[in-house]
Amino acid sequence: MMRKIAFAALLLVLGPWPASAQSKSETGVRGEIVGQGGLRFPIAVSPLKNLGTAADTAKLSEGIADTIVYDLDLSGWFKVLDRAAYIENPQKSGVVPGSFDFKDWSTIGAEGLVKGGFTVQGDEVAVELRLFDVFQNKERVGKRYVGRIKDYRRIAHKFADEIINQFTGVPGVFNTRIAYVSTSGGRFKEIHVAHLDGSEKFQVTNNHTINLSPSWTFDGKSVLYTSYKDRNSSLYLFELYSGKEAKFTPRIGRYLGGKVSPDGQFIAATVETAGNSNLSLLDRNGNLIRSLAENPGIEVSPSWSPDGRQLVFVSDRTGSPQLFILELASSKVRRLTYSGNYNTSPEWSPRGDRIAYTGRVGNRFAVFTIAVEGGEPRKLTAETADSEDPTWSPDGRFIAFSSNRAGKYHLYIMQASGESQRRLTGSGGDDTKPSWSPRLE
């Protein structure tokens, strides 16, 4: 078909480095790094040493380090020390324990240190990366990767994920994509996907109409979205690697949106018939299985629980849009939100315990989370601007959202607590409705 993302290069993970295999549990910095408003862990990321004879024409030395720095900063858990303060010359000092001086790093305040080297051969690069505990003068973990030079960011993301794993026991989420809606400065809304760091941008649609509400299948290989490209809004399922697309239309009415279930077997869709929007359960080919949560009012925006047994959705059955939870087996519905008069766009955390949503505060919109059992919601963004459309990272520790705090709508991420709000790379237009992919393989 027309457009697709191609598999390109093999990325081999050959590590862990034997020497570091059992250093993992011996250090004192394991566990969640910071608490509420706590200190960020000071870490240095040295430019990589060129271990080969070929020149570093692709600027991998700094490129890989820059990517790791970007990721660690994005997490909000680290204070990455300014490279200008680094003492040693990365091309002269070694990368294995004993071949450099930990004092060069403790002197500048680093408690963690990332060093590495690389060897270029043709269009491939072999990269070894190590995380050191500067206090204990010890290596924490080492990994070796081989891949295409142009995929070096993937290698850096992989190791950043491993650093997060070392500190928190759960790998990071930097090898992920965001699907989102962007005007790119024009007047049409098109679906885009990009890596979390803004690289590897890919435009899913280019039909010069309105394309909305992208969401991922749980294998990260397809994007479901709503489009007016055939004049009436319909659902489309686009496979990124084949470029194939399926279109779903109901026998009566129109689809306004939908989400694929965690097992990939079902789609929960919003169908509008004669002005009424209700939820329908479809099979993965778009065939109607049954109606869900039928009501004379508005029912929209279903989001699956991670076990696929429940849906959180928006209904105005009580007079204003509120969140409700439907148990599929029993068809029982319970109201989740009681505060505020406009609560929409829910997304269930992959951890299962909380639901993120957009709530109206005065004339502004803010991102909230609420426990699945209900109770007091947590407001995560300030109402000095609008923040909307939250989406969880695959580990449930971060939330991406869109906000107009810098004028146009841009994408941001924050920790699930609301801390460390950081802007992602933008398109120059209005970027909205992010959907965070599962971890890429």
Partner: protein, 195 residues
């Protein structure tokens, strides 16, 4: 779905974006040219005025053009013609007094032009969530349709569509503009319009 169709190598495969093959130059998108691509949509649409084929070019004063076609052609979606918009309050789809009186006038025009069929568009202001606003716009269009039916217009002459908050007539952040966007719009379906 997660475990299905996985090739063994996929687990360690990195992905490279390629320019899509086999598509026309204006559609091709390369990984690193997002900024270049970003400027093309509006331009190329302007260069291809015939793209919104299903609508007329506006010689007929009575025939309308859908908001979607106007968007495609870069025109304002402000309404001109015999049928006036009606307006709604925030997050509401009930008909206000003024809306009812406008609908009566619109019904009179429809009675005087019995061959005309119209599509009623429901719109919202840009606050709130896109998908909820699609549903809200559908409610607004339906409310207008239902009232026209009670005024004696046959349902066969009236279709509805919601554009939610996607095709505003103005983009200011104040109540005057928001109210202008919270509208139902009445588009005379081309080709069937009475003179």
């Amino acid at each position: 779905m997660a475990a299905m169709n996985k090739k063994v190598s996929c687990g360690l495969v990195a992905i490279l974006l390629l320019a899509a093959t086999g598509c026309s130059p204006s559609v091709a998108s390369k990984p690193d040219d997002a900024s270049a691509a970003s400027t093309t949509p509006s331009k190329s649409a302007e260069q291809r005025p015939g793209e919104g084929k299903r609508a007329p070019t506006g010689e007929s004063t009575a025939a309308g053009q859908s908001s979607l076609d106007q968007l495609r052609e870069g025109k304002s979606s402000a309404t001109s013609g015999p049928l006036k918009d009606i307006y709604f309050s925030f997050d509401r789809y009930d008909l206000e007094v003024e809306a009812r009186s406008t609908l009566k006038a619109n019904a009179d025009w429809l009675k005087a032009n019995p061959a005309a069929r119209i599509e009623i568009e429901g719109h919202c202001d840009d606050r709130g969530t896109n998908e909820y606003n699609l549903a809200l716009g559908a409610k607004r269009a339906q409310a207008a349709k239902d009232y026209l039916v009670t005024l004696g217009i046959t349902t066969e002459r009236l279709s509805t569509i919601s554009y939610g908050e996607e095709i505003p007539t103005c983009k200011d952040t104040n109540e005057t503009c928001w109210r202008q966007n919270r509208r139902a719009r009445f588009v005379i379906i081309p080709g069937r319009a009475a003179s």
